[in-house]
């Protein structure tokens, strides 16, 4: 063999509490101002500051501005201690207070939300509990509850992120799992060979991706996130790329060039039976399922430049979907099925992330950075993340779908790329 195979793979070898990616938030026009009072706690210093995590979560959404605790005039622990004028003076519209107690090794965080303008309690005291290792989970749970109560939209702070981190000299790739705020990164896989295209299964239990670990050639793998158990799904000659789970989780759409040219196929995950979907001498690639599972969007350069097409899986009828720009690729369908988010370039500009309303065809540019790629949409449809470059490094950025917020996350070590936002876990 000319190519000596020495796969260099660890599963779950690394786990850390530190945040691997850091957020830089740009101000927005008119965020809701909320004061999150440090939670009352009488014991020794806790490893996590729940109020601070909640404030950061809400700011991350782009819809809130957390009041600086240094400016607070009081630290109420119960409704009786709340004086609305203190908070009105700071411009806070909402007030969240809470306290933490400990019993038999478990922590109990109770919290109450107040509307400062209307001077009334929004919800009665709620309690969430967990172990010391779950303090961040408890904080994210509180953030979800507050976010949903105020905006009417389900919060995404308990969802997770999978991304690829790449290192040079020596070349190495890591598949990473973290909280959506970048904290608690955990390595799912490490390889000396390229790793790319991670996608979550719809139930949030598995991840599909492409790895070059076998003979330095691409193959599609599925990995169980909890156990680390992996199965190789494809081993075809040529391209094995861009896996995409069907909404029911039973099929994987993918691009294979086993018949000589990149074409779209659908594989039954259980039986591994393959159905060929496209048959064209151009590149057909990057399938993405419509929300109803009845059709696929994909990238094709059959018109000379890459554009998004849609194929109906019953009739196999195909039509072009994008017309704005000379480059549209790697579409992702929003959870409500009404819009596509993709990589777009107009003549004379660089690549940006754009959203297109499927019905009207109207396209909006969402990102202003350079070399943008790999958009992934939050399961509540309110935000998306994408990969871009900053300071010579691959970084992740986040943007709300109304394009008001931009958040950059510079990595500490390698190049961070290809974010995949998890579904809701329950």
């Amino acid at each position: 063999m000319r190519y000596i195979i020495s796969a260099f793979l660890f599963v779950f070898a690394l786990s850390a509490n530190a945040q691997n990616i850091v957020f830089v938030t740009k101000g927005i026009d008119n965020p809701t101002k909320i004061a999150v009072v440090p939670f009352a706690w009488t014991g020794a210093r806790l490893p996590e500051d729940i109020a601070k995590i909640v404030g950061n979560d809400l700011e991350f959404s782009g819809q809130f501005e957390a009041t600086d605790p240094e400016r607070m005039l009081a630290f109420p622990r119960a409704e009786a201690e709340v004086h609305y004028r203190d908070w009105k003076a700071l411009g806070s519209e909402y007030l969240l207070i809470g306290s933490i107690t400990q019993q038999a090794g478990r922590y109990y965080a109770s919290y109450e939300l107040f509307d400062v303008i209307q001077q009334k309690r929004v919800f009665a005291k709620l309690t969430v509990d967990g172990t010391e290792a779950q303090l961040r989970d408890m904080a994210h749970h509180i953030s979800d509850k507050v976010y949903e109560t105020i905006t009417g939209v389900r919060g995404i702070f308990s969802t997770k992120l999978i991304y690829v981190e790449a290192f040079k000299k020596p070349q190495k790739y890591r598949l990473m799992l973290s909280d959506i705020d970048g904290f608690r990164p955990r390595m799912l896989l490490e390889s000396r060979y390229p790793l790319l295209s991670p996608v979550w299964s719809p139930n949030g239990q598995r991840v599909a991706y492409v790895s070059f670990e076998a003979e330095n050639k691409p193959a599609i793998y599925i990995q169980d996130i909890a156990t680390g158990r992996r199965q190789q799904m494809t081993n075809f000659r040529g391209l094995n790329g861009a896996p995409a789970w069907s909404p029911d989780g039973q099929k994987l759409a993918m691009a294979l060039s086993k018949d000589g040219n990149p074409e779209i196929y659908v594989m039954n995950v259980l039986t591994r039976q393959l159905t060929r979907v496209t048959n064209h001498f151009a590149i057909d690639h990057e399938p993405s399922w419509a929300a109803d599972g009845a059709s696929l969007f994909f990238t094709s350069d059959r018109g000379g430049k890459p554009q998004i097409y849609q194929v109906n899986l019953a009739s196999m009828q195909q039509e072009r979907v994008t017309f704005d720009g000379d480059y549209n690729a790697r579409a992702r369908v929003a959870p409500d099925g009404k819009s596509l988010v993709m990589l777009n370039k107009r003549p004379g500009t660089t690549h940006h992330i754009a959203a297109q309303d499927i019905k009207s065809g109207n396209l909006r540019i969402l990102s202003e950075t350079n070399l943008d790629e790999s958009p992934t949409i939050a399961p509540n449809g309110a935000m998306l993340m994408y990969a871009t470059r900053s300071g010579g490094k691959g970084v992740l950025a986040a943007v709300s779908l109304d394009a008001r917020v931009k958040i950059l996350q510079p990595p500490k070590q390698g190049d961070v790329r290809e974010p995949a936002w998890s579904p809701f876990f329950n």
């Binding site: 070349q171 691409p218 040529g238 391209l239 690639h285 890459p306 370039k345 790999s374």
Partner: protein, 154 residues
């Protein structure tokens, strides 16, 4: 591109002759051994044969320069039973997966050309690395033009 290839080839030849010279002066002044002569001859005869061909942005059609380079490879490969790996690459712009396809289309274009020139297709293996393994790491046109390539690996 062909001037680039010639330059690289010449540099290689210069370095090789320098190395040969050094080793000669380092050790005992042995006369031109047969191995020493063979090394110099090989580098001279392959000086103009680049193992890399380049492509235009978002394109997988072979340029005239690429065809000239590949003709020389075809001459070398015709009738030979040597296995060759054609590694396709793309620059960093655009979609990572789409660039995988672009790299493969480029490598396929090289394979198809070599086959039409009489090279046995079964000795040619195609693999694409997309934008994963750039030859130059900058984010500018000069780096990008070096990264849109197919490497012919013997």
């Amino acid at each position: 591109m062909i001037t680039k290839a010639i330059k690289q080839g010449l540099t290689l030849a210069v370095v090789m002759s320098f190395l040969v010279g050094c080793s000669g002066s380092d050790t005992k002044p042995v006369e031109n051994t047969t191995t020493g002569t063979a090394v110099t001859d090989t580098s001279a005869s392959e000086a103009t044969l680049s193992n890399v061909v380049y492509f235009d942005f978002d394109q997988y059609a072979l340029t005239a320069e690429s065809r000239a380079v590949l003709l020389a490879h075809a001459d070398k490969l015709k009738g030979a039973s040597v296995a060759v790996r054609l590694e396709g690459h793309a620059d960093e712009r655009g979609s990572r997966e789409y660039n995988m396809a672009l790299g493969e289309k480029r490598a396929n274009a090289v394979r198809d050309f070599l086959v039409t020139q009489g090279v046995n297709g079964s000795s040619l293996e195609v693999v694409s690395f997309g934008e994963e393994q750039p030859a130059a790491t900058g984010s500018d046109e000069s780096s990008w033009s070096q990264n849109r390539r197919v490497e012919v690996k013997y």
